[in-house]
């Protein structure tokens, strides 16, 4: 089968919280707090979670756009944490990122040609003619006309800008792309176009994706495997169809029931989870979800669950919940 392209072991990314008097580090914001997963080649791993759960930090940590506190990240056989500057630059050819904001992700003073050429220029790939041809080829790949190469980002709609951003990410022919909420800023009718483009690219070029989104339906549609993140941890992980058909973790269940369904017959959601995501300044003990969990036991407030496949489930379906221990 496919080999492992991205391997993450117990990754932790903390931010210092400064405050008090005199000013000092008074705590750690554990944005990513011990996450492990693998992405095989030709696969899309979907990461779903609410704002502040650490999913974006995780994506950026993998690409070392964020200092990693501890743990291991290996992409295409490289130990990302230990790369020196030169090696890191080389490694960036294999890993790229697509951003959420179609307005902020393109430099307004650059033409589309300059934007898509930048990766080729930076890594000195090919000569001038080759780079120009590449720009046209990439524009075609993402479904834009050659004629737009000399236009500026402000002359495009959100969906078109997102295509330009994707072309830029593809320029270096990466093996792995982090897609950080690539469609959430787009209008509904354009979302599906961009989603189709991403899944086409994945199939045609065999790129592995880490697809980050807060939208469960989008993640299900695009991913082979899905991880559900809550408060810096993956609390449940399974192949997409398995996860959506048989969610185990109470958080996953409540997320799924919270999604409004475009079907008036479906009736209103089942259990609506109460309260808000806990504060990082005062993290709950035990399972981080227990204060909001509808089925929490007293034990949940004391002991942290282990992330594992419960007995009787397939080994690919892992969950971190005391109900299954």
């Amino acid at each position: 089968m496919n080999e492992t392209l991205v391997q993450v072991r117990d990754l932790k990314t903390f931010y210092p919280i400064r405050g008090g008097f005199p000013r000092r580090v008074i705590g750690q914001l554990k944005a990513v707090n011990g996450v492990s997963f693998e992405i095989p080649t030709h696969h899309t791993f979907g990461l779903v979670g609410e704002s502040g759960c650490g999913k974006s930090t995780l994506g950026r940590s993998l690409l070392r756009m964020q200092p990693i506190t501890s743990g291991e990240v290996s992409i295409a056989g490289r130990d990302i944490r230990r790369l020196a500057a030169r090696e890191l630059k080389r490694a960036r050819r294999d890993m790229q990122i697509i951003f959420q904001d179609p307005y902020g992700s393109l430099d307004p003073r650059f033409t589309v040609r300059q934007i898509i050429r930048e990766p080729l220029d930076t890594h000195r790939i090919g000569d001038k003619h080759f780079r120009n041809d590449e720009v046209f080829r990439l524009l075609e790949v993402v479904g834009l006309r050659k004629g737009v190469a000399d236009r500026y980002p402000h002359e495009f709609s959100g969906g078109q800008r997102q295509r330009v951003g994707i072309a830029r990410a593809l320029a270096l022919k990466p093996k792995f792309i982090v897609a950080d909420e690539p469609v959430s800023a787009l209008d509904v009718s354009v979302q599906s176009q961009v989603l189709n483009l991403i899944s086409d690219l994945q199939k045609s070029y065999g790129i592995s994706f880490l697809f980050i989104s807060h939208d469960l339906a989008v993640v299900q549609h695009i991913s082979h495997e899905v991880g559900v993140m809550y408060f810096g941890k993956i609390v449940e992980q399974a192949p997409a169809e398995e996860l959506y058909a048989r969610p185990l973790h109470p958080y996953t269940r409540s997320l799924l029931s919270a999604v409004p369904k475009p079907d008036p017959g479906a009736g209103s959601a089942g259990t609506i989870v109460k309260g808000d995501v806990p504060s990082h300044l005062n993290p709950p003990k035990g399972c981080p979800f227990h204060p909001r969990c509808p089925v929490a036991k007293p034990e949940c407030a004391v002991r942290e669950p282990v992330f594992q496949a419960p007995a009787g489930e397939s080994p690919t379906h892992k969950v971190s919940c005391l109900l299954y221990e």
Partner: protein, 339 residues
């Protein structure tokens, strides 16, 4: 501004209470931009009956928010203005009304909640002072009464320890809590109509469900009319009985919710419904899409505005603009070839 429509103000027969709470007639709202004058809303008509939750759905720039703002005459002016039409709120045309009269209606007869709970509240005033201000304006309550009533309202929207929240500032509350405060403010004068402009869009999925649940419950309990504006068809399906679909400033389809989702008649509606990814369906390889993109309001195509993106468009569609006509009981469509 107030003399846009000379015939307005004479319709008073709707005040009996059984008529619609809102009736919009041929509303046109224009904005002057650098590219010239554009019509954000172009000749729409609809009404909302007492106790009815109506949904308006559409993509950004389709005019749904402008429609809601027009009901309370909150269009930023300049650059916007109501160029034509009437908006009967509780039987009275608001278009010719002045600021002073509008103020008596706002927050009182009709209230509005907004998308961004982070910025919609004044950061330097406490929750309490912002809530009591409304009661003191419309109900002329004393400080004490206003305080008691506000705390009760906070209690109604299920905010824990309301007396404590009453003294806090907006930044001390989470997004979901702030949106609850907005709802409490909106309902504190017991309005007949609630305008909810994307009330849950900026919130997380779980919090979104909480807030929408709250809005649904209160709307039913209070038999309040509601116009819910959203781009999320799921939210509409769970909340509204009737839906208006807007595209480029026009209504393209009006339908009862069941009919719309079961049998969308306009190609835009069916395209939209097909293209959104849905949870827990059998996984499909490719999503159906609507080709192209929303046209620029300053450069609209002749004829049907959707023609360029429509799989069924003919020469006729590119020439003439279709009118909204009833195609089956409860369903109106603006299309020459409804599904």
């Amino acid at each position: 501004m107030s003399d846009v429509n000379p015939s307005a103000g004479e319709v008073g027969s709707d005040r009996s209470g059984t008529g619609p709470v809102v009736r919009v007639e041929d509303l046109v709202v224009e904005f002057s931009t650098e590219k010239g004058r554009i019509r954000a809303v172009d000749g729409i008509s609809f009404s909302v009956m007492p106790g009815e939750p109506l949904g308006i759905v559409g993509e950004s720039g389709c005019g749904k928010t402008v429609t809601a703002l027009s009901v309370l005459k909150l269009i930023p002016s300049p650059p916007g203005r109501i160029a034509r039409g009437q908006v009967f709120l509780d039987g009275r045309d608001v278009v010719p009304l002045g600021e002073r009269e509008m103020r008596r209606l706002r927050g009182n007869v009709a209230s509005m909640i907004f998308q961004e709970p982070m910025t919609a509240l004044n950061p330097v005033f406490t929750i309490g002072s912002q809530m009591t201000e409304i009661l003191r304006i419309h109900r002329r309550m004393s400080h004490r009464e206003a305080r008691e009533h506000s705390i009760e309202m906070l209690h109604t929207v299920n905010i824990e320890s309301p007396a404590k929240r009453f003294t806090q500032y907006p930044h001390e509350l989470s997004g979901g809590m702030r949106q609850r405060v907005m709802i409490a403010m909106a309902l504190s004068c017991d309005p007949k109509l609630l305008l909810a402009d994307e009330p849950s869009t900026a919130l997380d999925v779980t919090v979104q469900a909480q807030v929408m649940e709250e809005i649904r419950r209160l709307q039913e309990e209070r038999r309040m009319s509601m116009i819910l504006i959203t781009h999320d068809l799921g939210v509409i399906a769970e909340t509204c009985r009737r839906v208006i679909v807007m595209y480029c400033g026009k209504i393209v389809e009006v339908s009862d919710t069941h009919g719309l989702f079961a049998h969308p008649r306009h190609p835009y509606t069916s395209g939209l419904l097909a293209s959104i990814p849905k949870v827990r369906e059998k996984k499909i390889e490719r999503l159906p899409t609507i080709k192209g993109m929303v046209p620029d309001l300053s450069d609209l195509p002749k004829g049907c505005r959707f023609a360029d993106r429509c799989p069924k468009a003919t020469a006729e569609c590119r020439e003439k603009e279709p009118e909204l006509v009833e195609v089956s009981p409860g369903q109106q469509v603006a299309c020459f070839y409804p599904d």
